[in-house]
């Protein structure tokens, strides 16, 4: 074996350009205001193989370079070639991966290499790099700074040549990344007969994230005579855990996997009302119970809470499911890889639902620090603009390459997300209600004796301790092994293959390998049959030398765990071979009651299933609510509302996200009826995504979301209510069937456990209690069952005084039925003469509004406090939603758009922008409150609607009993005119609004 270097670089000439280099040039201009004349790029391949360099060179244009548009060279760098790089550059930066980090281009190249050289050694490998060659850099810009924008030292390495080195011809050469051999460690017993401090020490140094009580529960387990007896019989150390067992328990019992805070017993004190109460599991009380109550009333809730996603019956033939996840900590450390593994990870949750569902739509919701942030950045973290670019690019690649359209989402900005960005990724799936063999597809059917396969990727050192790591706060020392890069193509091949296996009736049980790796996936499935036996020596590895505990808990991506009946093994393996998917039998289900892990013949873990899953002690926590104090928001006495409107439209939280969202494929599968963009120029904001998943059938599925984190500043309960109401209203705007909607609750919270490092834990926990009480109240009123959810409870950076905690954030996602997408409304104003109505009414609720934050940042006002939007009468709201949805479904509504950030003023502006048309509006009579509140307040329950004059009477009849106020007319003035009675308030050109709205987040670096 020897290393051969091959490089490719774009040819120049008329109509040809180096786009890869150009992207870097434009990004530096947009993010850092650095200009330069040119950036060129070279892609490099380091081929470790037994094929000679001569042979590789002779075929380089068949594989590594496209001879029509690229030059190639072998065993030298292009930089030495005066014909191709004639001018001396100012700097060259080469970026390659660190050893062991997933190199997708390298993997693809290796596949192509074996196509061309079938005789090549099977252990050949290829690693890739990119060199950026800079010309015309100004003197203030150092190569080191340029490099820092091009690579992430956690996973990549860079070699730099500065001006002097360039002039001396001293070119940077990235060398082949030899993987350092991992040191295989025999399983070792760990003595737990030690004092409490030492128990905690073991947990902390081992990144186990177990508290004292949990360590004691483990200690107690090994003191039990019965336990010791059975362990002696199987031949494993009897009175103490092995490292494999302790790691396995730590993963399984992690906050990430067990949701211990949502399961905790909470003593809740409300200092405002004097209430003292006990909440015995927030999850069971406020989420599970209401959904189960609703399950008694409807027949379409097929599977809730216990599987990888919640499943509802959609029609007689098909069921649909949805799941949303967060991937916050990995995205903070490596925005690209972290976000990509987030989206492909939640896709696997869908594939792992029932006997396997097919992912058909993605949603992405991000919370970042301000993109133009000028202040300090916490150590080890990135500027928000870089986080935005990286996260966006990760979910773009993950979603697009997987062939799943991204149909809905949001991006929210607040400076507290500097310490931890939130990256919510959701996926909708579809499956036939019944498989060809008659089994209902939402029910797993494993039996003892079934063979358990690990399918897809291999296990590596990457991804160790993800679950426990995400259960700790971020620090400067957060480990790189918790970060991975996804491989969507390996996953796509696996997905294609497993869905064929499902339809062939081969699968009895399937789940994904996410947090906790095999330990969780096989461990959870083993609950069905009450036991399993795993042989870790059979698990295929990315690199040799992994110790048994590492193999068991590694979260290496793109893996599913699948159970197959013994008689179906041959067919299953043949299917895997056809699809070139690795599938290895690593375990079998038993009914012994034990989670039994071997490494070859030796037993390395032997834990009762019951102890593994139910042995974790319930947390006992304290919460204490007292309303936070804020300076009240008092609107300025004199306001130029025209300017205020333009300023609000340019706020990152309101501004157009088109640059970013347009880069997602939102209509692969040919089903997206309402896309993220609507209107004349196809750039207006859509309220919800609507798809028609069965080709040729206009029946639709609506997907929407709601999020309002800043309301938590005043009351996290109001924050939760607002998120749910917004998700529902967004769905109503396109005409969802309100009798068939289901929700997903994804909570991201700062650490709510009182401790030295979290002195306000009681308050944060009280916020969680209030949020969930509101969630129950609103969901019951809207008959909206939560069918799946997730929580991420340690969203803090650092400790003590410097700690940055995110605002408590609930993302509420919704999916629901739509009987016929041919009767639909979108947010863009349609025709001159259409009548404009406001459904709902405005209240004096400016607390924590976008306008309050904007004016406080500008020192125009001193506070954001006051009345936060509340939902005092959800039954009344729901009645009007039902009426409006029916009206939309009967085809008499042209336009509907909800009011959220920026209130009615911004909503009307967005409707003009979408339609590129004006309107004349009078907001008198839209609420018993001051002008400022009517115009910019964010009261819930409001939707702006237009109907053509022909349908006016029918519409009003449909809305009878709901607060529906005529506010004006769409006209061809090309201006938005708003008055309050006789007082003119706003007169603004549509084109000016478009400009303000589209400028802020463009970030594309100017003209081509």
């Amino acid at each position: 074996m020897q290393i051969t270097r091959v490089e490719a670089t774009p040819k120049s000439g008329k109509g040809l350009r180096d786009v890869r280099g150009d992207i870097v040039r434009r990004r530096l201009a947009a993010d850092h205001n650095i200009s330069m004349t040119e950036v060129r790029s070279i892609v490099g391949f380091l081929i470790n193989s037994d094929i000679s360099s001569e042979d590789i060179s002779s075929r380089a244009d068949d594989l590594f370079a496209d001879p029509i548009i690229e030059y190639s060279t072998t065993n030298q760098t292009f930089l030495q070639s005066p014909e191709i790089f004639s001018d001396t550059p100012d700097a060259v930066i080469s970026v390659g991966f660190k050893p062991g980090v997933t190199d997708n281009p390298g993997k693809a190249a290796l596949d192509g290499f074996h196509t061309i050289f079938p005789e090549a050694d099977i252990n050949s490998d290829i690693s890739t790099y990119i060199s950026y060659v800079f010309y015309g850099i100004n003197n203030q810009t150092t190569p080191e700074f340029l490099a820092s924008t091009l690579y992430n030292s956690l996973i990549e390495r860079a070699v730099i040549a500065d001006t002097n080195m360039c002039q001396a011809g001293d070119w940077p050469m990235i060398e082949y990344p030899e993987k350092p051999p991992q040191v295989f460690k025999e399983p070792s017993p760990i003595n737990l007969e030690i004092d409490d401090d030492d128990l905690i020490e073991i947990s902390e140094t081992g990144l186990l994230a177990l508290n004292l009580e949990e360590m004691r529960a483990i200690q107690a387990h090994y003191r039990d005579a019965q336990t010791q007896h059975s362990r002696r019989a199987i031949g494993i150390v009897d009175d103490r855990p092995t490292d494999v067992e302790l790691e396995c328990l730590a993963q399984t019992w992690s906050e990430h996997c067990k949701h211990k805070i949502f399961a905790a017993k909470i003593n809740h004190t409300d200092l405002e009302t004097g209430e003292q109460s006990v909440v015995d599991s927030i999850f069971k009380t406020h989420i599970m119970k209401p959904t189960h109550d609703m399950q008694n009333d409807v027949d379409w809730l097929l599977s809730v809470f216990h599987d990888n996603s919640g499943v509802i019956a959609w029609d007689d033939e098909w069921s649909v499911c949805m799941k949303a996840e967060t991937h916050n900590s990995p995205s903070a450390l490596d925005p690209y890889g972290g976000a990509m593994t987030g989206i492909v990870g939640v896709n696997r949750d869908i594939l792992g639902t029932g006997l396997g569902a097919r992912p058909i739509a993605n949603t992405d919701v991000f919370c970042f620090g301000p993109p133009d942030w000028q202040g300090d950045i916490p150590d080890n973290l990135f500027h928000p603009s870089r986080v935005l670019r990286g996260v966006h690019s990760g979910v773009r690649v993950g979603g697009n390459e997987s062939g799943i359209p991204t149909i809905n989402g949001a991006i929210v900005f607040d400076e507290r997300y500097l310490g931890k960005p939130l990256v919510y990724c959701g996926t909708v799936g579809i499956m036939p209600r019944k498989l060809p063999d008659g089994r209902e597809s939402h029910i797993k059917t494993p039996t003892a004796g079934d063979i358990v396969y690990m399918v897809g990727g291999r296990v590596g050192y990457d991804g160790i301790h993800g679950a426990t790591f995400s259960s700790l706060e971020l620090t400067e020392e957060s480990p790189s092994s918790a970060v991975q890069i996804g491989d969507p193509i390996t996953q796509k091949k696996m997905l294609d293959m497993l869905l064929e296996a499902r339809d062939a009736g081969l699968i009895t049980c399937i789940t994904d390998n996410g947090a906790g790796g095999l330990s969780s996936s096989i461990g959870e499935m083993a609950e069905y049959t009450n036991g399993c036996r795993i042989d870790l020596a059979k698990v295929p590895l990315k690199q040799s030398g992994l110790s048994p505990w590492e193999i068991l808990v590694s979260e290496s991506q793109e893996r599913m765990t699948v159970a197959i009946k013994e008689e179906d093994i041959a067919e299953f393996e043949a299917l895997a071979a056809l699809h070139e998917v690795e599938a290895t039998a690593v375990a079998e289900f038993t009914s012994t009651g034990m989670f039994h892990v071997q490494f070859g013949e030796a037993t390395v873990a032997y834990l009762p299933i019951e102890f593994l899953h139910d042995g974790v002690p319930q947390l006992q926590l304290e919460s204490e609510w007292s309303p936070p104090h804020h300076e009240p928001f008092i609107p300025p006495s004199k306001t130029d509302h025209n300017q205020l409107l333009l300023d609000l439209l340019a706020r990152p939280n309101i501004a157009s996200k088109e640059t970013w969202v347009r880069q997602y494929d939102h209509e692969v599968i040919a089903q997206t009826a309402v896309k993220p963009f609507v209107g004349v120029e196809r750039d207006g904001p859509a309220d919800a995504g609507v798809i028609t998943p069965i080709h040729g059938n206009p029946r639709g599925l609506v997907v929407s979301c709601g999020i309002a984190p800043r309301y938590s500043d005043i009351d996290a309960g109001a924050m939760a209510a607002a998120a749910i109401d917004e998700a529902v209203r967004n769905a109503v705007c396109v005409g969802v069937d309100v009798d068939k909607i289901a929700g997903l609750d994804n909570f991201c919270w700062p650490d709510p456990i009182q401790s030295v490092k979290t002195p306000d834990g009681k308050f944060k926990l009280a916020q969680l209690v209030r949020a969930n009480r509101e969630l129950e109240r609103i969901c019951r009123a809207y008959r909206l069952p939560c069918v799946s959810g997730k929580d991420s409870m340690k969203n803090d950076y650092g400790k003590g005084l410097d700690k940055i905690s995110i605002p408590p954030t609930l993302l509420f996602s919704l999916f629901g039925d739509h009987t016929d997408v041919r009767n639909i409304a979108t947010s863009d104003f349609k025709h001159p003469g259409d009548k404009v109505y406001l459904v709902g009414e405005s209240y004096d609720e400016l607390g924590a509004s976008e306008v309050s934050f904007m004016l406080r940042e500008r020192d125009i006002v001193s506070g954001i406090g006051g009345n936060v939007p509340t939902l005092s009468n959800p039954d009344k709201f729901f009645k009007s939603y039902r009426s409006l949805s029916s009206a939309i479904n009967s085809g008499i509504v042209n336009t509907a758009h909800d009011c959220s950030e920026g209130g009615l003023g911004v909503t009307l502006a967005e409707m003009c922008i979408g339609g590129r048309i004006g309107a004349t509006i009078d907001i008198d009579g839209t609420g018993d409150c001051p002008l400022f509140s009517k115009l910019w307040g964010e009261s819930l329950g409001r939707i702006v609607v237009t109907v053509s004059p022909d349908n006016d009477a029918k519409f009003l009849e449909a809305m009878s009993g709901s607060t529906t106020t005529y506010i004006g007319i769409v006209d061809d003035s090309d201006k938005l005119n708003i008055s309050d009675g006789f007082d003119p308030i706003i007169t603004m050109n549509v084109s000016d609004m478009v400009q303000s709205w589209q400028g802020t987040l463009d970030m594309s670096g100017g003209e081509l």
Partner: protein, 278 residues
């Protein structure tokens, strides 16, 4: 009984528009099967069993080393004889988006004169000038003088592009001119509000989403049977998929299917072609 043409819709290795591509052929009287590329290579299935081959869109091998390259190589090196036979037998082939990239890298498009493929790459599809993958709707104009059987009778349609590497390049100007003279430039991006523009000047972004030479969106081989294009006609099989549908201004189509969208005719053309030759 009317003959029902059998359509092989290729999938595997990251192709991802296989379901909708199969569906549209079924809507217009074909009978489609999704076939994994390896089924043809291993001999589990044979191209002989089919009348039409479709290479759908997607991200085969993640577009690494250039879109369509690795998939193209697999076909070029492992399916050469079968493809030669298929083309020689006068059977239609379509490549959409990634499928088009595959056909270009394989050398089937634009291909040599005549119906004997030589598997020599003559053009390429490369990174959009914008540097961005984008999903946006474009307007396409079809060449009335083309002999392409897929585009017969078609004039203009709206449909989405969804690609990062859709810029058609043929650095050899003589070859590009010849391609145009042969009427192998089957379909181009146009500005529907300004169709009088110099047809060979590159349209500004985003009317041309990628900066393609001569605004090329799709080409056919000299026989008119092998056709590839970057935009997605299957994505406008129904009117309700058009972004103007909710405004009531989506283009209507005369069809027995009252909801038919503009893109379906391409697939019907090929199915009808096979039927009329049987």
């Amino acid at each position: 009984m009317m003959y029902v043409p059998k359509v092989a819709v290729l999938f595997g290795f990251g192709i991802n528009c296989d379901h909708e591509t199969a569906a549209v052929f079924d809507m217009v009287g074909g009978s489609s099967t999704r076939v994994h590329l390896n089924s043809f290579i291993s001999g589990l299935d044979s191209l002989d069993n089919y009348d039409i081959l479709a290479v759908p869109g997607g991200f085969s091998f993640g577009d690494h080393l250039g879109s369509g390259r690795l998939m193209g190589n697999r076909m070029r090196f492992s399916l050469r004889d079968e493809l030669t036979k298929f083309v020689g037998a006068g059977k239609p082939i379509i490549g959409i988006c990634n499928g088009f990239q595959v056909l270009v890298k394989t050398g089937l498009l634009p291909g040599p004169e005549g119906n004997v493929p030589d598997f020599v790459q003559r053009a390429s599809l490369t990174l959009n000038d914008s540097g961005r993958y984008e999903d946006r709707w474009v307007t396409l104009e079809f060449n009335p003088d083309s002999n392409c059987i897929w585009t017969r009778g078609m004039t203009q349609i709206d449909c989405p592009v969804r690609h990062g590497e859709g810029k058609y390049v043929m650095p050899n100007r003589d070859k590009l001119t010849k391609l145009a003279a042969n009427n192998q430039i089957t379909v181009r991006y146009i500005d529907p509000e300004n169709t009088k523009l110099e047809p060979n000047a590159v349209l500004p972004f985003p009317k041309s989403p990628n900066g393609s030479m001569m605004n090329i969106a799709g080409i056919s081989d000299s026989t008119g049977l092998v056709f590839g294009l970057m935009p997605h006609p299957e994505a406008i099989y129904a009117q309700w998929l058009h972004p103007d549908f909710s405004r009531g201004t989506a283009p209507k189509v005369k069809s027995q299917l009252e909801w038919e969208g503009q893109g379906l005719q391409i697939f019907r053309n090929a199915v009808d072609y096979v039927i009329s030759n049987n």
